[in-house]
Amino acid sequence: MSETIAPASENARLKMLSEFWHYFSQNRGAVVGLIVFGLLVLIAIFAPLIAPHGPFEQYRDALLTPPMWQEGGSARFILGTDAVGRDILSRLIHGSRYSLFIGVVVVTIALTGGILVGLIAGYFRGWVDSTIMRVMDIILAFPSLLLALVLVAILGPGLTNAMIAIAIVLQPHFARLTRAAVLSELGREYVTSARVVGAGHLRLMFVTILPNCVAPLIVQGTLSFSTAILDAAALGFLGMGAQPPTPEWGTMLADAREFILRAWWVVTFPGIAILVTVLAINLIGDGMRDALDPKLKRS
């Protein structure tokens, strides 16, 4: 009996995945974004193997070397070096690890907290809902970077604290989304059916309703990934995030502030790295939203 059951399950999941890919791949930008992001992940994983130099190695004889194609540049430092002689390309490559790490950690914390809070608010309604959402409104009323700055100032500068601060600031978005999705699913008949069959509160919240609220959360999670990277870069730029000599892209920008006119490459390349990463992730997020939105289904 079990042999006949198992293949059908694989087929069901495979079919859903291929249908998802069909819609996702219709958005060329999203596919490009996915490829770029894939490359980024590979670069991050194989960073020590790819990078020509160590990220902390200082070459005192090659301070502020221009990029390879410019006069004074050398093939040893393809993208040039910074003020203390560190190879920019290697730092960028290692920095990708930090950016991905930040994105993953922040989104995980914000998602978990936001889903829990949103579920409870949407399911129980009444004063629980009001209280929770007012707290969320208060958090949302502050400019997010400012709030993150305040939190980091309280907790102390550093990458970990920066991540926690950004996660707290991003969490209300997820809470709101989850609550909205829970509210719209609550009235559906399958929830009533589950109730009639005897499901208790916990089961209804996590097993029955939550899996159906996942689509908008995936999209928001993808977009928050890029927001997290940007915010961490901003905090790093302000000196409140990752501390030097960490090769985090935003911190690299902070170090390079004074060289904007003198040595443009120290500032530009980390900036481009941030730009490309955030753009790729946003394109993926757009593609996912189009693919996962049932109303846009064309056939």
Binding site: S18, E19, H22, Y23, R298, S299
Partner: protein, 282 residues
């Protein structure tokens, strides 16, 4: 003269699972003052055919036909602009969900006058007068108040009347009604059907009634086309269809009607059709 002539209409959709033939070589014709009922269950392609005629299908649909004429004019090869002049004015359509088919952001009066402005180019005062006239003719007596109501403030039956008012605003030659009463209560259904027949008799329109309900067919149609899974099963006048159905599917539909039940069990389509479609049979 035949108002409406469609020959060998085929519609293929481009889906994630490959091309899907929603309609396979079906022909339709409607004359002045005639009520044609297109009967079928879900998946029969009955709505899709009329949407193709109106040009309302998405880009993923490929529409081919030997002939698709309205009063001798070729609908199939018309430009979108020429078609827009005909749709809503000479061919009109009403849909199944009346409240959802009206724009929730605008008043009923605005939506009726929109049609008048677009097709008849009336000025503001004449539009208002005509809108009140139209609401009266569809049985909404407090027309002046209703002009400034929003769709969500009205019942399903009233919204359907408004839809009908919008549809007949320009005195169309053909009115296509796509399951107009399916979402309505039984007593309201009767009122709407009576209204449609009344208007059809008064204006001499051709009425195409798309439905899955054999009862509605019996109460309204002159001629009937029975469709199943995109193909035409049978076409005849209404009395012959009920008295002496030719095709197995029609016989199955008629005997599945609870009122025709003879014994304890209702016969099912499967027991009539020799050939079953592959895949899921509900």
């Amino acid at each position: 003269m035949s108002l409406f002539e469609v020959e060998n209409l085929t519609i293929v959709f481009d889906t994630s699972a490959g091309p899907f033939t929603a309609l396979d070589g079906v022909s339709y014709s409607v004359n002045n003052g005639e009520v044609l009922a297109i009967v079928g269950e879900s998946g029969s392609g009955k709505s899709v055919a009329m949407l193709a005629v109106m040009g309302l299908l998405p880009d993923t649909a490929t529409v081919t036909a030997d002939k698709m004429n309205f009063e001798g004019r070729d609908l199939l090869h018309m430009t979108a602009e020429e078609r827009r002049k005909i749709i809503g004015k000479e061919i009109a359509m009403i849909f199944q969900e009346p409240v959802a088919s009206l724009n929730p952001c605008f008043t009923v009066g605005f939506q009726i006058e929109e049609v008048l402005a677009e097709h008849l180019k009336l000025d503001k005062k004449s539009r208002r007068v005509r809108a009140i006239e139209l609401l009266h003719s569809v049985g909404i007596m407090d027309a002046v108040d209703r002009l400034s109501s929003y769709p969500h403030q009205m019942s399903g039956g009233q919204c359907q009347r408004v839809m009908i008012a919008i549809a007949i605003a320009c005195e169309p030659k053909v009115l296509i009604a796509d399951e107009p009463t399916t979402a309505l209560d039984v007593t309201i259904q009767k009122q709407i059907l009576d209204l449609l027949l009344q208007l059809q008799a008064d204006h001499g329109m051709g009425l195409i009634m798309i439905t899955h309900d054999m009862g509605v067919v019996a109460e309204t149609a002159d001629r009937v086309i029975v469709q199943y899974q995109g193909s035409k099963m049978e076409e005849s006048d209404v009395l012959t269809l009920f008295e002496a159905p030719q095709h197995a599917y029609t016989k199955a539909l008629l005997s599945a009607l609870p009122e025709n039940a003879t014994g304890d069990r209702l016969p099912t389509v499967g027991e009539f059709m020799v050939e079953q479609q592959p895949g899921d049979s509900a």
